[in-house]
């Protein structure tokens, strides 16, 4: 999966390992009267696995949508690769190397696994639509190059057997894997995973954990993930941020967060 077309730093400069890749400051987001996120600040360091956890409706997915530019917060700033802005835009996020998967798998159901992952390469295609339609010369060579990247991803995720199967026919666990593949095809700098293990059995979860750890180790990809399975979160992540009712209530290493009284109250409920 080595990049033959290196992602250009479109937005700003490179960030060193351990440096702050992305920071959100005082972000608030409301839909009409519903305040989904209230003044949340945290950062994601390059090369780490950062988990975002919290009870249902805590604002986790909203937070990911803010980072990927899908939602535009009313207040606060987002700093990505040293560039501070009021809000993110989806195309800037994608160009800047932010890839994501969705809570309810968002693949092209009628297309094969291969084609779905190929769509992840769209931004790296240099030739125009017409050239690709004619499938000639440089466009053909380019497609072969991209196909190789995609095949490496297929090999990596061990989904060779469903290469040509329409994803709509696949079980949920495999669809999740295909979606991860599509995100990886962007060769992302920051990978956002929204509940990558939801609805999986133990074995599928273990596989997914292995993939996530290998992605981090092999490609130095920074990963932010939302997950409900606490054992997964505690095993995988370097740091955890906990949201509840749109507020950040804790931030730290898994063990710190685990012993935090506010977190325990948020999960177990407390008399107000």
């Amino acid at each position: 999966m080595k990049a033959d077309v290196k992602p250009k730093p479109v937005i700003a400069g490179e960030v060193e390992m351990g440096g702050i890749l992305l920071a959100v400051e005082n972000v608030s987001l409301s839909f009409g009267g519903v305040r989904a996120v209230r003044g949340v600040s945290f950062d994601i360091r390059k090369g780490e696995i950062r988990a975002i956890i919290g009870p249902n409706g805590a604002g986790k997915t909203s937070m990911l949508n803010v980072i990927s530019g899908f939602y535009h917060p009313q207040e606060g700033t987002i700093t990505y690769r040293g560039k501070r802005r009021r809000d993110m835009r989806p195309y800037l996020a994608a160009k800047g190397g932010i890839a994501r998967t969705f809570q309810n798998v968002a693949l092209f159901k009628g297309m094969s696994t291969l084609d779905n992952i190929m769509t992840g390469r769209t931004l790296k295609m240099r030739r125009g639509l017409l050239a690709h339609a004619l499938h000639f010369g440089p466009a053909k060579r380019e497609e072969i190059r991209h196909r190789e990247v995609v095949e490496r991803i297929i090999d990596f995720l061990e989904i060779q057997h469903i290469r040509k199967t329409p994803v709509g026919r696949l079980p949920y666990g495999l669809q999740k894997r295909v979606e991860l593949g599509r995100a990886l095809a962007m060769e992302p700098e920051l990978l956002l995973l929204d509940e990558p293990m939801a609805g999986m059995n133990l074995e599928e979860k273990q596989d997914m954990c292995r993939f996530i750890l290998t992605v981090k180790d092999m490609f130095n990809t920074t990963i932010a993930l939302i997950e409900h399975d606490m054992s997964v979160v505690m095993d995988l992540s370097d740091r955890v941020v906990v949201l509840d009712y749109g507020r950040k209530i804790a931030d730290g290493t898994p063990s710190e967060v685990q012993s935090n009284q506010d977190v325990i109250d948020a999960y177990l409920g407390v008399a107000h």
Binding site: E148, E151, F156, Q160, H161, R163, T214
Partner: protein, 666 residues
Amino acid sequence: MNGSIPVSAAPDTALDTVPKLLLRNAAHYGERPALRHKDLGIWQTWTWAQLKHEVRAFAIGLRKLGLTRGDAVAIIGDNRPRLYASFAAVQSLGGIAVPVYQDSVAEEMAYVLDHAEAKFAVVQDQEQVDKLISISDRLPRLHMVIYEEERGLAGYDHTSLYAFEHVEELGRRELRDNVDTAGWWLEEIAKGRGADVSVMLYTSGTTGRPKGVMLTHENIVVSAQNGNRFDNFTPSDTLLAYLPMAWVGDHIFSYGQAFAGAMCVACPESPETIIEDRREIAPTYFFAPPRVYENLLTQIMVRMQDASRLKQRMFAYFLKVARHSGERILNGQPVGFKERLLYRLGDICVYAPLRNRMGFSKIRVAYTAGEAIGPDLFRFYRGLGVNLKQLYGQTEASVYITLQPDGEVYADSVGKPGPDVEITIADSGEVLYRSPGVFLKYFKNEEATRVIKTADGWVHTGDAGFIDQHGHLKIIDRINDVGRLNNGALFAPKYLENKMKFYPEVREAVAFGHGRDYVTMFINIDLTSVGSWAERNNVAYASYQELAAHPQVYDMVLKRLDEVNRQLAEEPQMAASQIRRFLILHKELDADDGEMTRTQKVRRSTVAERYSSLIAALYDGSTHRHVTTEVTFEDGRRGMVEGDLSIADVPTYEVRAAEPPREAAE
């Protein structure tokens, strides 16, 4: 370059080891494909010349890392070209290859590697490396692990861990730096003798620890050459390697025979893609245990149910045609012009597309072995024009004991002794054999060797069998399970039970007869199959018990037993085992009640104990017996099942003289 290869010549001392075969293939068939592997979605090919270079580089790399003559090297992973190359590389230096089942847990692996005294391990990927690391403190002799796939291993401590490429690179550098190296390697190969041990295969024994079966180069080479000669394999034949490398069958077919016959071996992309890969490769030679053929057929039947009406009817019609004349055409027997024409039409419309779906479009020979295959299943494939045959073999025999020659194929026998194989039946009914493939001994287990192998080279198979009227061997049961009726006749429960279990209505059957006057049987009906019959025939039932006790169900089973008795009457050795009385059990035999193992095998003694009153009823002439049985439900609660069971008699037949062979083409 399709010319025949000098395999039919008398055993050639110049070609008495597998690495020597490699050199010959590289010289004579250098440009022909030796191995293929689908990687990144594309089939990659190694020619024999390329394979030789790969083997040479890896062997010299191993040498640099300290491999010497007689060292054992464990090889663990899915079927991959580089792992097959490792066999040849290790053997070229006089080492002993020890393939290990890739799905064994660390515990089993620790035993095998420790027992085999493995010094090196060549493994496929991180999974296997992890297992070896977890047991490394128990393997003081293992001093180096070489892996093929790097994924996930980047962060590992590499003091005793090498990448396959790295070892090859060591070898290539040595070849560049030292001009004598290539010659030295050829000398090392020349030093090899047919009597040297080439491979140790650990048998997964059902009892006790696995035993290391030591096979020599001669065992492998001669068995492979005989196998090739038997079915006329040439360098243009192709096979798909997908069964575990640690299993003797794969070692003989995909390694021994492929090297002896310069055939091409294709390795699937991953264990999940085998069906698709087989379709793309279209092997000419294929081996599978019966369940693989069964699964293939089930898949087809399930998909046919979604097909259009027209297709379904066409399918049903031409299957009937295939059943009627397909096998006779395959056997080369006389078949009428009209039937031939119909079959031809069926071939265009149904059989050829079906064969293509299954990856059998170029198949010349397909084998099945390991357990009894259902006659309907067997005839289905033969009817489609797939030359499916049976063989009988063992690790200790380098596979081949008996095979079915073309034109002499029966669903219920395992064939005639292979080339150079002698067979004899002991008084106990046990099958013994002697052949050039007979193993040297069990590694570090003289006692077990003495039990199995006699001083003059006969080997006990542990199976009971007899030679039938066609001169074919029939395996009836494990010798330990075979008993005697009071009149001294052989009683082989599994043989009888299998005959019944091949009927879709019967799920389980348990035969009794050892130390009795006649044979009786417990039957478990198959709820799905009989249930759907009940639905179609308006038979109302509320439970398994009620359906099982239904008189019409009794009649149905009785008819099947009657058919079995007719068949038994035709076999002089088995005629005394005709089933006289039976009953259908009021509950399904269940692993939760200890009546079956978790792998769905009947625990005969437990069943006999739990239902001793029923067995007594089978032999005391009563027609009804009231019974109460304790059962364990899936959630662990216990309860009682009781009921009145009827016991029915089955007509038996006089022993008939052996009929002339009906299906055989002489």
